[in-house]
Each structure stands twice: as structure tokens, then as C-alpha cells.
């Protein structure tokens, strides 16, 4: 039974502390991904809206799938919402296993699936005062679907 932690909220997180939690498990292999607000030129902040009743459960389901597919000892997924300035952390995925390949693959699977099946929507707030909703990328769908193979 993997030690899993899923947290959805406004608060920032400390990737070092999250890695330490996973490193304390008796695995020997820890992989992680941190996603940040990228400055695409003219971007001031991203506003992340989510579906409060559904988000936590949708992420827990993705984590449960990863735990079936790879021999994981621990999983951490943290996803923020609210208004996040350029450079701010948005998402953290960490996996612990006894095997390098399992931790790396499960980490990639989790972030690919979060992109297409966690109910979040990003709105760009630009320095010129305009806003716009980010369009879903077809390439993200393709990456997630590739894990079905």
C-alpha cells in the first residue's frame, strides 16, 4: 500500500520538504516534477480556477491508477489554485519506489494525466491588462493517451 498525499489549495509548497517525505520511505528511488508559471512574454500571472467538489477525487483516482501500474511506495501530488504570479509553483508530483524506472515513469504518467483529467482552468492575466483563457493543447491529450498503449 503506497503512502499517498494529495493536496489541492491556494498555499505554496516546499519541494524540498515534499522530497524529504518521500526520501524517508524505504525505497531508494524518488522522482519529482515541479510545474511553475512560465513567462511567455507579457504574462503577469495565471489565475487557476477549479471544480472544488471534484478536483481532490479526480486526482486521487489518477494516483490510484499509478499505484496499480507501478510498484510505488509513496506518491505526492500538490496542485494550487488562485492567482499565481510568473515564477510561482503550480504543481508538484513526487513518486517513491524501490526502482528507478517505476518512479520516473509513474511521475511522467501522473503529470501527463493531471493535464487532461484534473478539473482546472488557467486564465492568463497579462501586463497590458487583458485576460484570456488558455486553450487545451492537443499534444497534451496525445501524451496522456499514449500511456494507454
Amino acid at each position: 500500500m503506497a503512502d499517498t498525499l494529495v493536496r489541492v489549495g491556494v498555499a505554496d509548497f516546499d519541494p524540498g520538504a515534499e522530497l524529504a517525505r518521500l526520501e524517508a520511505l524505504p525505497g531508494g528511488a524518488v522522482a519529482s516534477f515541479t510545474g511553475l508559471v512560465r513567462d511567455d512574454g507579457g504574462l503577469d500571472a495565471l489565475h487557476l480556477e477549479h471544480y472544488p467538489g471534484m478536483t481532490q477525487r479526480a486526482i486521487e483516482e489518477i494516483v490510484a491508477q499509478a499505484c496499480v501500474r507501478w510498484p510505488l511506495l509513496g506518491v505526492t501530488v500538490i496542485h494550487r489554485h488562485g492567482t499565481l504570479p510568473v515564477g510561482a509553483r503550480i504543481v508538484f508530483v513526487g513518486t517513491a519506489s524501490s526502482h528507478r524506472v517505476a518512479s520516473l515513469e509513474a511521475c511522467a504518467f501522473l503529470i501527463d494525466w493531471l493535464k487532461v483529467s484534473a478539473p482546472f482552468w488557467k486564465q492568463e492575466q497579462r501586463r497590458d491588462g487583458t485576460t484570456g483563457w488558455v486553450e487545451a493543447a492537443g499534444a497534451d491529450d496525445a501524451r496522456a493517451q499514449a500511456w494507454r498503449g
Binding site: G35, L48, E49, H50, Y51, G53, M54, R57, A58, H79, I90, V91, I111, L114, K115, V116, S117, A118, P119, F120, W121, K122, Q123, W133, V134, E135, A136, D140
Partner: protein
């Protein structure tokens, strides 16, 4: 009377101008797409939000479903654009 709560997110919410509607739950066999046709007649905002069905996604009782799914005895329907988290 059974009630169906309908939640809107992102630009769907903005076009409609509010984040939810509450309606009498339609007949169980009614599909989400058929309900959207009906709601589109309610206001110009609903019409604008639901015009391009290819850009809409849905969840019934907080699980993703296709737009041609029957509403059945669900209590909560959500309509939104494709998700862009992560």
C-alpha cells in the same frame, strides 16, 4: 420535485454571467446535449456559451462524461471547456 444543479466554469461561466443554475431535473433519458439545446433558449449568454459544442466538456455527479450521456438521476451537472491544469 427533483432538482438538477448545473455548474459552469471558466469562459462558460463568464459567457452565461453566473456560476450555476438550478432546474427541475429533466426526464431521465434526456441527454446533456438535449438539455443544452433547451438552456440555450434561456438567454443570449447561455446561447453564446453553448454555441460551439466541440469546445464543451461535461461531468455528471463529478465524473467526466460525453455530452450525449443521459442525465439519469444525477443531482449535479457541470459544463466547462477542456481542462488546462497541471
Amino acid at each position: 420535485m427533483a432538482v438538477l444543479k448545473i455548474l459552469y466554469f471558466a469562459w462558460v461561466r463568464e459567457r452565461i454571467g453566473r456560476d450555476e443554475d438550478e432546474i427541475a431535473r429533466p426526464e431521465a433519458g434526456t441527454t446533456i446535449a438535449a438539455l443544452l439545446d433547451r438552456l440555450a433558449a434561456d438567454s443570449p449568454g447561455h446561447d453564446a456559451a453553448f454555441a460551439d459544442r466541440g469546445r464543451l466538456r461535461a461531468a455528471l455527479d463529478q465524473s467526466f462524461v460525453p455530452l450525449d450521456s443521459p442525465i439519469g438521476d444525477a443531482r449535479e451537472l457541470a459544463i466547462f471547456p477542456p481542462v488546462t491544469g497541471g
